[in-house]
């Protein structure tokens, strides 16, 4: 079990992490959801032993964690002038693998991220998605017990993202503990069994997706465009729920009145039902509820 107790990290006068506590169980896939600058990467670097906390404790400590830890950094941390095979051989050797074991693990890793055929190709000729997949493979060569993924899908095409998710899902089912940081709520919701929402260096909420959604005082979410026709309606609805304008393009409304009443009032203003998209609230709504901001606003 990974235990993080009251971890605090400051950079000068700025508090990046403020008394953060977490318990990660073996085999768990834990999501760390928050906007950029929330403290996700700082927490990852503390768990990886790359930084020292100013307060609190992480157990197991730096030396104990390193041997069984794999880190997928936010950047594509590869030697792009070398081939995929050469990169994995270097990282494998640095993790203590040698000879036949090394060759076998490199082959397995390339196979797992569907890059076997590109083994002898120079990494800089790869697409962004392929580089991200190789970035992930490099962290898994030594079969770590804990995998830290720090926003590993930034700038990745949907196909590669799916391939990464499938692979991580498989690894987690095989017993690998994963801590996955992201600012994409869809990723956290899809991949993680438990999610911690972090903002301004504090864990605001922690639990399964259902537990987090249960924090919301409303059950529905309605999205409609921000136009001259809907503006008056939005103003009238504001006192009857939580209304958020997203980039001036659309409204996100969490009604605290019955849906039938909502649509009746829309009809009074001759607004057709097709303007309104109704959905179950997402983690975005949870974040909004907890912080008063959307994840997108804070990126």
């Amino acid at each position: 079990m990974l235990s993080i107790r009251s971890i605090t990290k400051r950079f000068g006068g700025f508090t990046a992490l403020d008394e953060v506590s977490l318990e990660i169980s073996p085999g768990e896939c834990f999501g760390l959801l928050g906007p950029n600058g929330a403290g996700k990467t700082t927490l990852m670097s503390l768990i990886a032993g790359l930084r020292k906390p100013d307060g609190g404790m992480i157990s197991p400590g730096k030396s104990g964690a390193r041997a069984s830890l794999g880190l997928v950094p936010q950047n594509v941390a590869l030697y792009t002038d070398l081939t995929a095979g050469q990169n994995l051989e270097i990282f494998g050797k640095l993790q203590g693998l040698r000879g036949a074991t090394l060759r076998e693990r490199v082959g397995e890793a390339l196979e797992a991220v569907q890059l076997s055929e590109r083994r002898k190709d120079v990494v800089k000729t790869f697409s962004g998605g392929m580089q991200r997949r190789l970035n992930l493979a490099a962290a898994l060569l030594h079969r770590p017990g804990l995998l830290l993924c720090d926003e590993p899908t930034v700038g990745v095409d949907p196909q590669s993202r799916n391939a990464i998710f499938d692979y991580l899902g498989q690894l987690n089912r095989d017993g690998l503990t994963i801590i996955y940081s992201t600012h994409y709520m869809e990723e956290a919701a899809r991949l993680c069994s438990r999610i911690g929402i972090i903002d301004h260096g504090k864990i605001l909420a922690l639990g399964t997706l259902d537990e987090l959604l249960a924090l919301l005082p409303f059950e529905d979410e309605i999205i409609f465009p921000n136009t001259s026709e809907t503006k008056l309606f939005a103003e009238r609805m504001a006192p009857h729920g939580k209304l958020v304008s997203e980039n001036g393009a659309q409204y996100r409304f969490f009604p605290q009145l019955k849906l039938s009443e909502f649509y009746r009032r829309a009809e009074e203003l001759n607004l057709p039902a097709r303007l309104f998209a109704q959905q179950r609230p997402t983690l975005e709504a949870v974040f909004l509820h907890l912080t008063g901001r959307t994840l997108r606003d804070t990126k």
Partner: protein, 450 residues
């Protein structure tokens, strides 16, 4: 047009934000102009070489010989050495026998011996002996030019005295006096000047040769006077090359090491700068999360720098052999040792730059500035002896100075391993100091933080 103006403004804004580019465009050239101006003596009233050590052994008790020493001493291009302090002994006057060992030890590279037979008595003429270690071609030519100037300004009197002595030897004292009186009488009668004054001048050896020496010439070219100069036949300078006689390709031996060190500094420094790229790419973060420690990264960079530098130097010397016949075989062990020491110092310098700079741009800027500066001050471009004395003192604090010195010891002097030891020791000291500071800076810095 507005698109071009917009893009133009964009270029300006980007340029303005890039401090390194700004510095490289304006500050570095201005600084370099200032430093090179200082080195080459631009705007200095008295340009030219300064303080080239010249040993002088005067074995002649003729006043004219002492006058010649005074003339040499007055020449700013020379720093006259007339004494030596043997190991454990007291300072004493230099003797001719001291010169060659001291020249082999590079205490000085030029020596002039004024022999007891400075003035010929059997036939008119002046004898001098010049010993040289022409390890630097430009310096050697300059020294010859300066010697020519000094000797020729002093020669008329010497020559006149020589003629008087020759006459005395051939005609006897009375015959010589009669000859002088006859000549003085004829001059007095022809030109209406005072006969006794002319007689006194003739007896002092003043035959008016100074008018002959005012003609252009470079008679002291290695001790051989220029054809057409009437004095050339009369001034006999015995020239002896003490060091480097057997060097097969003197020019290559002098220059290849100097060229190599500058490129070595650039290439090895660039290697250290890749640390910043590795940090930006997250590679250092990935490495640090495994069993790799900062010391592993730094030492691997340093050692690769040393190996790369060693291979680069050997490749350049091989090219020197193929192109110019540079002899790299005769002293291969010394060359290898010296190359390793040079590569170590350059790699240490690269690590130092990487530890001081905060960004790769700043590191690149610092590298360009310091490598050019050190190459210039260290004598990679022009001999150190051509620089003002204060700059010459600064030169010894540069890596190129010691690298060039070491390669000259190998190629020019064929120095033994023991002879190379001090130079190699200095370079190892530089390496150690640079790496210590770099390690201290890296420990305090943020390069290994995510």
């Amino acid at each position: 047009m507005s698109i071009i103006l917009t893009l133009l403004r964009k270029e300006y804004l980007i340029f303005k934000c890039d401090r390194a580019a700004f510095a490289l465009t304006f500050l570095v050239p201005a600084l370099m102009i200032y430093i090179f101006g200082m080195v080459f003596g631009i705007n200095r009233a008295d340009t030219g070489p300064r303080g080239i050590p010249l040993a002088v052994v005067n074995e002649c008790d003729n006043p004219a010989a002492r006058h010649l020493v005074d003339v040499l001493r007055a020449e700013k291009g020379f720093r006259i050495i007339t004494t030596t302090t043997p190991d454990g002994g007291a300072e004493r006057e230099l003797e001719a026998g001291d010169l060659k060992p001291l020249m082999r030890d590079n205490v000085f590279r030029f020596a002039i011996v004024i022999p007891s037979n400075l003035i010929e008595t059997s036939s008119p003429g002046v004898n001098l002996k010049l010993l040289s270690n022409p390890r630097n071609e430009i310096e050697t030519q300059t020294v010859n030019g300066l010697l020519q100037k000094c000797i020729f300004s002093n020669v008329p009197q010497l020559l006149g005295q020589s003629m008087q002595a020759s006459m005395k030897s051939m005609l006897g004292g009375a015959g010589k006096d009669k000859f002088n009186r006859n000549i003085a009488g004829a001059i007095s009668e022809s030109f209406g000047v005072n006969e006794s004054e002319v007689l006194r001048e003739l007896e002092a050896g003043n035959f008016g040769f100074d008018r002959m020496t005012s003609r252009d010439g470079d008679a002291a070219d290695g001790g051989k006077t220029k054809k057409g100069n009437p004095l050339g036949e009369l001034i006999k300078i015995e020239n002896e090359q003490v060091v480097g006689k057997d060097v097969k390709s003197p020019a290559a031996a002098r220059n290849v090491g100097a060229w190599a060190v500058m490129f070595l500094l650039f290439s090895v420094s660039h290697l250290a700068i890749t640390l910043f790229e590795e940090k930006r790419a997250g590679l250092l973060q990935r490495l640090m999360s495994s069993s790799v420690r900062p010391s592993h990264v730094l030492w691997s960079k340093f050692l690769f720098g040393v190996l790369l530098g060693l291979v680069q130097l050997m490749a350049l010397f091989c090219a020197g052999r193929l192109l110019y016949g540079l002899d790299i075989v005769s002293h291969f062990g010394q060359l290898l040792l010296m190359s390793a020491a040079a590569a170590g110092a350059c790699a240490g310098f690269g690590m130092l730059i990487a530890s001081i700079a905060r960004t790769s741009a700043a590191a690149g800027f610092l590298t360009t500035l310091l490598v050019m500066l050190m190459s210039c001050l260290g004598g990679a471009w022009v001999p150190v002896s051509f620089m003002p004395e204060v700059v010459q003192k600064i030169s010894v604090f540069t890596i190129p100075y010691w690298v060039i010195e070491g390669f000259m010891q190998v190629f020019w002097e064929g120095g033994s391993l023991a002879r190379l030891a001090p130079t190699v020791g200095v370079l190892c000291g530089i390496t150690l100091a640079a790496m210590s500071v770099a390690w201290w800076r890296f420990k305090r810095g943020t390069i290994f933080e995510p």
